[in-house]
Each structure stands twice: as structure tokens, then as C-alpha cells.
């Protein structure tokens, strides 16, 4: 466990010593503030469009940060050969995988907290309401989403050779699931037979990432997802995360490293 935490600390250090996170955060802040400064019919209580834009940027930034860091981890270790001195220590490859995962996940969590604080400040300063629980729930669910994404990307990073191709493929896959996952069954029912079964199978296999996207509820102040469902969704996410991590380990376990 110590080893895993030490590994994850290195990942976090790397993330905050690289500049991309700050760039994304500043970009989000600037765009949101620009939008906030627009004069709309002399009404400064309008807030939902701001929340919507800010949340959209948070989701995109979160995804970019998650995929960007996770896709790089193992390939960069191999490319820079830092994996050699590391694995020469009493470190198992499973520990490497879990450590990398936890590092990315914690790092993204810290980033998310900063993003949501910003969102809370912006929206709170306008509507003078502080739906803290609602934001916390959205934050948590997005964090679970990111856990699944990171695990998926780690799996991709031991399958595909180049980190850039892995990043692109993961991005497309995650966006696809996130955007279309909900409708696959519906689309399947309108298709002819071979495609129909295929689509249905995919529908039941993929992790339903769209669940974790509760932006609409937050934006329109529709209240909370019942906590029981929230917990179930978290479990579901944890199961997929574990599945991807085990798969990553199985691929990575017997890989010869001297390339």
C-alpha cells in the first residue's frame, strides 16, 4: 500500500509541475467570466446559462486532463525507461498499475474540486443560493466517471503502442459512450437483425457513463439524485474500473519491457 501511495504521489507531482492543468483552468475561468460579463437585457440574475457553459467546460477539461495524464503514464515510463529502476525495486506490476490509477484519479479529483469551487463562486455570486449538496453530488459523480475513464485509458495504454493514438481512441470511445450510450438500445430496435443484436449487446456491455453526467439537474436546479441511486451508480462505476484495471494488469503482467 505504501508503494502504491508513493507511486501515486509521483503522478500527482508530475501533473502539478506540468502546465496543462493551469492552462485549462484559466481558460475555463476566462471563458466563463467573459460570458458572465455580457450584458443581457440589464438582468444580472441570469445564471443558468453560465452554469451550463461552466459545467460543459469543466467536463471537457476534466476529460482532457484525465485522458491526457492517464494515457501518458505507462508509455512514458517505458519510453523514458524510468520503469527499469522502478521495477528493479520490490514493486509488482499490479502495484504499478494501481499506483498510476490512484495518482491520476487523485490528481483529477483535486482539479475537479478547484473547478467546482469556481463554479460555486460564480453561480453563488449571482443567484445568492448555495446548493452545496447538489454540487458535491455532481462532483462525486463526475469523479466516478473519471475513474472509469482513467482505468479504460490505462488499459488502452498497454494495448496500443503510441500514447497519442491511445489518447485519441480513448477520447472518441468515451465521447461516444457518453453521448450515444443512452440511445443505443433505442437505435438498435429500429435496425434490421444482425445490427440489432450487435447494438443491443454493445448497449449492455459498455459502462453507461452518461449516468454520471447530472449537469442538467444542476443547471435547472432539479434537485438531487436520490442518494441510494447515487451509491448504486458509484458501485457500478467501481466494478467497471476494477474490471479495466484487472485487464490492464493482465496485459501488462507478462510484457517484456526492453523495447
Amino acid at each position: 500500500m505504501n508503494t502504491i501511495l508513493a507511486l501515486s504521489q509521483v503522478v500527482i507531482k508530475e501533473l502539478y509541475r506540468r502546465k496543462d492543468f493551469y492552462v485549462l483552468f484559466v481558460l475555463t475561468a476566462i471563458i466563463t467570466l467573459l460570458m458572465a460579463s455580457a450584458n443581457l437585457f440589464h438582468d444580472d440574475k441570469i445564471v443558468r446559462y453560465l452554469k451550463e457553459i461552466c459545467l460543459l467546460l469543466i467536463w471537457l477539461s476534466g476529460l482532457v486532463i484525465a485522458i491526457g495524464t492517464a494515457a501518458r503514464q505507462i508509455p512514458a515510463e517505458r519510453e523514458n525507461r524510468t520503469i527499469f529502476p522502478l521495477l528493479a525495486k520490490p514493486v509488482s506490476r499490479a502495484q504499478v498499475v494501481v499506483g498510476k490509477f490512484l495518482g491520476c484519479w487523485f490528481a483529477c479529483g483535486v482539479a475537479l474540486v478547484m473547478f467546482y469551487l469556481f463554479l460555486g463562486l460564480i453561480s453563488g455570486s449571482r443567484e445568492h443560493e448555495w446548493p452545496v449538496l447538489s454540487y458535491l453530488q455532481a462532483l462525486w459523480l463526475q469523479w466516478v466517471f473519471i475513474a472509469v475513464v482513467i482505468a479504460l485509458v490505462l488499459l488502452g495504454s498497454v494495448i496500443f503502442a503510441a500514447p497519442s493514438s491511445n489518447g485519441t481512441i480513448s477520447f472518441v470511445v468515451v465521447l461516444g459512450i457518453w453521448g450515444l450510450g443512452r440511445y443505443l438500445h433505442q437505435v438498435a430496435l429500429q435496425q434490421a437483425e444482425p445490427i440489432r443484436t450487435l447494438l443491443s449487446v454493445i448497449y449492455f456491455l459498455i459502462p453507461h457513463l452518461e449516468w454520471y453526467d447530472v449537469r442538467d439537474l444542476v443547471v435547472h436546479s432539479k434537485g438531487l439524485v436520490p442518494w441510494g441511486y447515487c451509491a448504486l451508480a458509484s458501485l457500478y462505476g467501481a466494478a467497471y474500473t476494477a474490471f479495466f484495471l484487472v485487464a490492464t494488469w493482465l496485459c501488462f503482467r507478462r510484457k517484456a519491457l526492453n523495447k
Binding site: 437585457f41 441570469i46 440511445y183 452518461e210 454520471y212 435547472h220
Partner: protein, 299 residues
Amino acid sequence: MFPAQGAEQVKKCSPYLGLVFLVTVCFTLATCLQCRPGQWTARAQSDNFLNVLLGDGRRMFANHFFVKADIYFHSGYYPSIFEQAARQSIDTKHMTEEPHDEKDEKEEHEHEQTMNFLGAPKDWIDRFGRHFYPSSHSHLEKPGDAREILPWLRLSADMDPERIETYTVAAFWLRKRLGKVDEAEQFLREGLRANPTSSEILFELGQLYFENRHDPVRARNLWELGLRRWQAQAETSQKPDDGMYLKLIINLAHLEEEQGDLRKTLYYRELEVKVSPQPIAVQKEIDELKQKLATPIVH
């Protein structure tokens, strides 16, 4: 000694001098070109250069933002393209309907039906997922919430100034729900500048003067202008909007009746009866009017 030192210094500065030179070139070019866009836009108007360049893209965005406003009107409960493909698309007229108006029961029911696009859950994933997004039909409830749809209408108008619906819907919300009559008028006038021939905007502007400003004279002027514009359009285009025409003459008739000019009222009622979906009721009113006109007013 001295010149040598100077030369040394120049050498040291030369990259910066080069930079300054390049900046100057950029600036000069920029100022030279500054007068050009005028010519370009002038040409753009002649052969629709701008339209070709970004016309369709902008219109697509404008449409997207307009739909966004409708989504906000439904607090996020809205069919996706997949669900729309399965059913008929939603028309956005309901956005400007008063919830407590004498509303058309049938139309209301129809809207409820189209908005019931989710149907029964198809499987457990679908059922479970419905807890994570707005999944029941509602319109904006709190009066202040209406303001939330405005940004999208504003954006839509910026993207496609020729989309008339944007102005009328926004003005409706501004003056009915938010009491922002000045802003509504300003926005409508902006729309009118972009679409000088639009009878819809003229109608809405007249409404504003009649209902909010209690200025029947200007309202009449606007509506009459709207009527003329409509007629001019009807002559050129094949399919004029009969609904608009009807609304204009009904309002005009109403206004004249209130002002006590029964002759003009009669004139508009007689126009109305030709296109009204309920000609019998209108005919009855015409008969009453004629009776009133026949009996001399006793002081």
C-alpha cells in the same frame, strides 16, 4: 573606440530592432487594410459574400440556440435527436403561450403527447438512468425563472438576425414575465432593423404599446403598418402566414372597438370573417355591430 562600442551595441540590439521593425510592418499593414473591409462588406451585400461564407453555419447555430431556449423552458427535459427521429418534431410555438390563458385544450394535450417522448423504460439501464437527468415534463414555474431562457435567444439573434421568432419570443418573455418593457422594445426594434418588412415584429411591437404602454395610437400605427407589410408580402410570396393576418386584424378590430370607432371595427370584422376558422361567431358580431351602427346614438 567609441564607434566600435556603438557597433557592438547595435549588434546586441539588432534582434530587438528586427522585432520592432516587424511590429511596424504588421501595424502598417493593418492600417492599410483597415479601409478594405468596408469595400468587402459592400461587395458582400451585393453578392451575398458573407452569406456564402458563414450563412448556413450561423443559421445552424442560431437554430441550436433557439432550441436551447426551448430546452430551458422545459427545464432540461427535452427529446434528443434520436427520440425526435422516432416521433414528430416539437414546434416551439408553445413557448409564447400563457399558461393560464384560455388555452386550446386540444393543442395543450397534443403538446403533452409529443413531450411524453420517453415512454416506458425499455430495460433496467434505461430505468435506472432516468434518475440522472430531468425526466418529467414541466414548464418554467417560478416567475423569475423565465429570465434563464433569454441568453440563448440573445445568442440566437446574434447568430442569425433574420430569424424573427427569436425577437418575438424574447420580447414576449421580457414584457409579460419580467416586466422589462424597455428592454423588450429595444430588442424588437433591433429585430425590426434587421427585418424591416416583418409583420410579426410589428405586431409584437404594437402589442407592447397597446398592453404595456397603453398607447393605442402608436399601437394602431404599428399594426396598420404590419398589415400593409403583410399584404405586400402576400402579393409577392405564394404562401403568406394567414395566422399573422388574422391576429393583426383581430387586434385592430379590438382596438377600434375600444376606441369607439365602430365603422373601422366593422371594416376589420368583415375582413376577419373571410379567413376566420369560426366565421359564424364573427358573423354574429358583425350583425350586432351593424345593428349598433343603425341605431342612432342617443345622448
